[in-house]
């Protein structure tokens, strides 16, 4: 992937960062799928289904953040990660953990 200026970073830093976002999205997907499995296992309850739906909402939020970040990385030079973006990504993970606790209980 080369930027508009044609300069290519020999360390492939933007590509590595892009793949790191992809890996993290994948990990998030696995966690969300496990949430669904836990909910469906042993008869879904109302609280379980609501918590599971919120888990998927957090997953969707992370997906959107990753997508936006990957697009920002395509620039030359790539735009830096903003603190707000980082906090939002961590908040999605946090929300996933909180709703996971609700699913498990």
């Amino acid at each position: 992937m080369t930027g508009p200026s044609g300069a290519r970073d020999p360390g492939l830093q933007p590509e590595r960062t892009r793949l790191a976002w992809r890996r993290t999205t994948l990990a998030c997907t696995v966690a969300a799928v496990l949430a669904a499995r836990t909910t469906l296992h042993g008869g879904p309850t109302t609280i379980g289904v609501v918590a599971c739906a919120l888990c998927f909402l957090a997953w969707l939020g992370f997906l959107a953040l990753a997508h936006r970040r990957i697009r920002a990385l395509a620039g030359a030079p790539p735009a830096p990660l903003t603190p707000r973006h980082a906090v939002a990504a961590a908040a999605c993970t946090l929300a996933l953990a909180a709703f996971a606790a609700a699913v498990v209980l």
């Binding site: 993290t24 990990a27 966690a31 496990l34 836990t38 830096p80 990660l81 953990a97 996971a100």
Partner: protein, 130 residues
């Protein structure tokens, strides 16, 4: 702890970080970002581990099963909070040209994971099933 509260300001006032020092080489910022994402993955793996304990040890007594699962989920929460806090600290250190911050969190996390792992082995081997 006081340092943590001071960092909280940087979480929610993103402009504040740009007021200090000089913008580092974007490659350093991207490396910091990847470290942040690696910590988020660790947090997600701990969350996944919490689900796994709940799902794949069904014979365990309820209190043990939910206790271990909640311990792993709590570790995931701490890990994601720490991820963003450490990212902010590293970013600021790079801007100011200071040494990168040191942290005892990795040691504490590995100890916690080791304790949970030993507890799981003991619980499964000894068979304190309900």
């Amino acid at each position: 702890m006081i340092e943590f509260v001071r960092n909280l300001r940087l979480w929610f006032v993103p402009q504040a970080i740009r007021e200090e020092g000089r913008t580092p080489d974007y490659r350093f910022s991207l490396a910091n970002e990847r470290t942040f994402l690696a910590w988020l993955r660790t947090a997600l793996a701990l969350i996944g581990g919490g689900f796994a304990v709940d799902q794949f040890l069904p014979d365990l007594r309820w209190a043990w099963r939910v206790g271990l699962a909640l311990a792993l989920l709590a570790a995931g929460v701490l890990c994601s909070l720490r991820a963003v806090n450490h990212w902010v600290r590293c970013e600021r250190a790079m801007r100011r040209g200071e040494d990168l911050p040191v942290s005892r969190f990795p040691a504490l996390l590995s100890l916690a994971v080791a304790v949970v792992a030993v507890a799981m082995v003991v619980v499964v081997l000894v068979g304190w099933e309900g």
